[in-house]
Symmetry: D2
Subunit: 169 residues, 4 copies
């Protein structure tokens, strides 16, 4: 399962990248998990659902509140936490690999948690936000790897696949 993280409000370029990423992930056999709301989350979910390989249940949205009606219509499985921002931890903890697109402080918290939890992190570098700024670097010295930079959604998926394989070895 791959987490797709990014802003709840994003510009057109980021949205297109997120949608292409969601589709490519499901094409490649990943289930996706995200924060279940708008922006990058919704674009990734919509993209996932547009894949020919999509099966009902492939798109998991983990929302901050208790009200399931807040979830994006493109989510298959809604996990309602009622835990506010702490739900960010759950999104990355549930993933085998985390892919960031653009991103403000919420995304930054998720990248930081992913790093702490030992999850491979891929930054789809659209030139915006924390995924742009952190691509290619380490967050601290507890890990030997870096946040992987991808230029295109298809590259992000390939890096995610390789990272999951390495992790499993």
């Amino acid at each position: 399962m791959a987490a797709v993280i990014g802003n709840s409000v994003a510009n057109d370029g980021v949205m297109r990248s997120a949608e292409a990423l969601g589709r490519a992930l499901v094409d490649a056999g990943f289930r996706i998990i995200n924060g279940g709301l708008g922006g990058v989350m919704e674009a990734a979910s919509r993209g996932a659902r547009s894949s020919a390989a999509w099966r009902e249940g492939d798109v998991v949205g983990v929302i901050p509140g208790y009200d399931k009606s807040a979830v994006s219509e493109h989510v298959d499985v809604c996990v309602a936490t009622g835990m506010g921002w702490a739900r960010n931890v759950i999104i990355v903890a549930s993933a085998d690999v985390v892919i960031a697109v653009g991103g403000g402080s919420g995304t930054l918290s998720e990248i930081a948690f992913a790093w702490q939890l030992g999850k491979p992190v891929v930054a789809l570098d659209t030139g915006d936000g924390w995924s742009h700024e952190l691509a290619g670097r380490a967050l601290d010295d507890r890990r030997n790897d870096v946040i992987l930079r991808a230029e295109l959604p298809i590259d992000a998926v390939r890096l995610a696949q390789e990272a999951v394989v390495r992790k499993g070895e």
Copy 2:
């Protein structure tokens, strides 16, 4: 989505009921969510997967730790919370209806949360535990309904379906 709650260790009768319940829920078109570990949780997951209607993605397990390898092999989607017992809240919050089978203090906490969150609760009464004890009664006066008693798994599913329909009206 229906939550199935119950002990991580259970006797044969409870296990058989949980398995039959999981199967009947998926037969009836429900996705199920549970705590992702052993006992009633695993029996329900195994039952769900044995349904002819089962699709990959229909069995969601929400585990207390970060280590996804702890999840039951019969779970399709593993949500790793790292939140210990607080994950019980997430299980019931994500459900449209909650069905208890047997149950000790962990199950009791889930029934209590389900009641607080306004979820319909069905007690599959196997003669054991808190689902037996609370079947047919209200937990407090904040709601007008009661915990519904079901004698057989198939009855529990019917009550769950009716409750979800009423809730949606």
Copy 3:
């Protein structure tokens, strides 16, 4: 530290008991922790502050939201969780002993968590709610003890002290 749990809305008898309990706990050298809102929580906090032994910092309130202005004015230390009902777990996990007064489904969830976490539980039996119903019994067979029944606040404090001593041995 003693957790005092009970309803956010309670009748006069329960409120008086909760206030006397808060005072007697601080008299006896306990710090108290509760859910930081109204009803039994506030009465216990107000009582604690009225003790001659009260020191600023003795009353800890753990609230469900992020907005600290929601906390009772009688709380010294406000812990804002943003975690909704899951904050109930934190209240009991932080306590050495848990004392229930009256109580609906929220209190029931806390009693259940206290039991799971191995915390001694005292029910101040005002004739109301789950503390009345569960006094003197076990929730399941994972523990050898029972929920202790106290008739008066002063008895509850004595039982709490004894339980903490036993636990420490």
Copy 4:
């Protein structure tokens, strides 16, 4: 209440800064809250307790596990969450102002949450870690302010005081 955040393992310079910071915060009338474990957390707690103004109850430690024996001996009030890394959210949500010293990915997650939650953030710049890197900048455009840079613990306290006053206006 001021949150002090930083690594659980830190070099001597960072540890001395954290200890001086803890003392200066209590000197200035702040209660402090931190993660309750070692490194910067413990140094800040020890410093707080060494202030002439310290009162029992001024040092709050919010630990990730359920086992209260894991808390630093310099903490007055131990809040046990059992919520793993999600406890980082609670630390910053409970604070009126957040002060970072050094810091790896855990601290980064806390800075990010503080930013999201609208808390003033002060970076005590010891030349190390994320507090060094982020001092003087904004994390995204949802806020008009920046992370404030302090060169010395006493400066950090002054900035924290000013920020809390501005916030209250």
